[in-house]
């Protein structure tokens, strides 16, 4: 009881700027993952990609994690990443990009597989375009025959996506997009591209890091980047991108 009172007393000061994970039913009850995510939460469901499967779990009761479906997506290749957009899920696999719809959130339904050469590839989506990086990974045999490039795919027709641009890369990993800014972890660099025209991307800046970048989240003018030595953050607007912090 004393704890309760203390918590109540503190809540005004603390929780208003320091909220807990269990505060609610608003849109902030879930967050934002990077392009390399294997888990994503939408409403009362948790979606997990693992190897060949897309699994769905009901999380409406916080004391239970109940599987509602386990769909074999790709028998011969690995599912690497999951990216939610509106009522669609985009899965990056070693053989291509899968699109599933969530008309029934408990059982995602296969819409399309956009295939490409064997490679490792995360995907992010903005508007009617998907941005996919394909990477050669010599440490993992399943990706070692790939290519290194960025592909832009028009997904306005989810059952007939088409490539509208291909750009050579060094060795790309995670990527993120926010408005006109496209960020790509490429080799030892953070590559910033102008995506004002998704059909003709242009390079704004290529910044060499003191380690290998892995993934990014671009949100509200702040870029968060995880790389082999820690975490970096940048602020960006128009043509200006500036490093603001690093922690190890």
């Amino acid at each position: 009881m004393k704890k309760m009172i203390l918590l109540l007393a503190l809540s005004g000061i603390l929780f208003s700027c320091d909220p807990s994970f269990d505060n609610g039913s608003d849109s902030s009850s879930s967050g934002t993952g990077g392009s390399m995510a294997k888990f994503t939460c939408i409403g009362n469901h948790l979606y997990v990609v693992d190897e060949s499967y897309l699994q769905t779990f009901d999380i409406s009761d916080s004391t239970k994690i109940t599987r509602t479906s386990r769909i074999l997506s790709d028998w011969s290749n690995r599912i690497e990443t999951i990216f939610p957009k509106d009522s669609l899920l985009f899965l990056g696999s070693t053989s291509g990009m899968y699109i599933y719809n969530l008309k029934d959130p408990a059982t995602p339904k296969f819409v399309y597989l956009y295939t490409h050469v064997t490679s490792c590839d995360p995907v992010v989506v903005q508007g009617k375009y998907a941005y996919v990086t394909l990477r050669t990974d010599y440490d993992t045999w399943s990706c070692s025959r790939g290519v290194d490039q960025l592909e832009v795919i028009d997904i306005s027709k989810t059952n007939a996506p088409k490539n509208v641009g291909t750009y050579p890369m060094v060795n790309p990993r995670g990527l993120g997009i926010d408005g006109t800014h496209l960020f790509i972890c490429d080799g030892m660099d953070l590559l910033v591209m102008d995506a004002t025209d998704p059909l003709a991307l242009t390079e704004i800046k290529r910044m060499e890091l003191d380690g290998t970048p892995y993934d990014v989240i671009a949100k509200n003018g702040i870029l968060t980047l995880s790389y082999s030595l820690g975490l970096k953050q940048y602020s960006y607007s128009n043509d200006t991108i500036q490093e603001i912090s690093t922690i190890y």
């Binding site: 009850s29 994690i65 993992t140």
Partner: protein, 166 residues
């Protein structure tokens, strides 16, 4: 898929986990230990092997590969502060849904309620063996470390490499 990979491993490498000259050995944990392993470490920990990232309100979550999650107060992105470390053996991924943090605790999927004010964590749900075993960085679990070839009731919570002679 796993069977296929194993066959590949056996054919190519005579059953040992060697690829590109690097071999890995698994870190094992008893199941009973695993189920009591999720804990908040009050103090922060240095970042050693960073992995996936997640933004939740003014917090950043950063996976420490196979070890857990750094909780970073990012109220001021110019001055992020490592506040605490959530110990989750075998952790690689995370997402927040309905205010609960979901993580992989090796092959188990675990729901954790976190109070970011007092930095306390309570496990509220666990779905055992919901996920496949953690592959070695080479992309598979070598035959010699499969369930039938390692101590009973153990789970793989990570991999360490030892330089091979290949």
């Amino acid at each position: 898929m796993k069977k296929l990979l194993l066959l590949f491993a056996i054919v190519l490498f005579s059953g040992s986990d060697v690829y590109n000259g690097v071999s890995y050995i698994p870190m094992l944990m008893d199941r009973s230990q695993l189920e009591a392993s999720v804990q908040m470490v009050a103090s922060s920990m240095p970042i050693r092997t960073p992995g996936r990232i997640y933004v939740y309100q003014n917090w950043l979550l950063l996976v420490e590969q196979y070890k857990g999650i750094h909780l970073i107060d990012n109220t001021d992105p110019a001055h992020p502060v490592r506040k605490a470390f959530l110990r989750v053996p075998g952790c690689q991924s995370m997402a927040v849904g309905n205010g609960i943090l979901y993580v992989d605790n090796a092959v188990d999927l675990v729901g954790i309620k976190i109070d970011l004010g007092s930095l306390q964590a309570h496990e509220v749900a666990r779905n055992k063996k919901a996920l496949p075993e953690i592959n070695s960085p080479n992309g598979y679990v070598p035959w010699e470390f499969s369930r039938i070839n390692r101590p009973a009731n153990t789970e793989i919570v990570g991999w360490t490499n030892k330089t091979a002679i290949l």
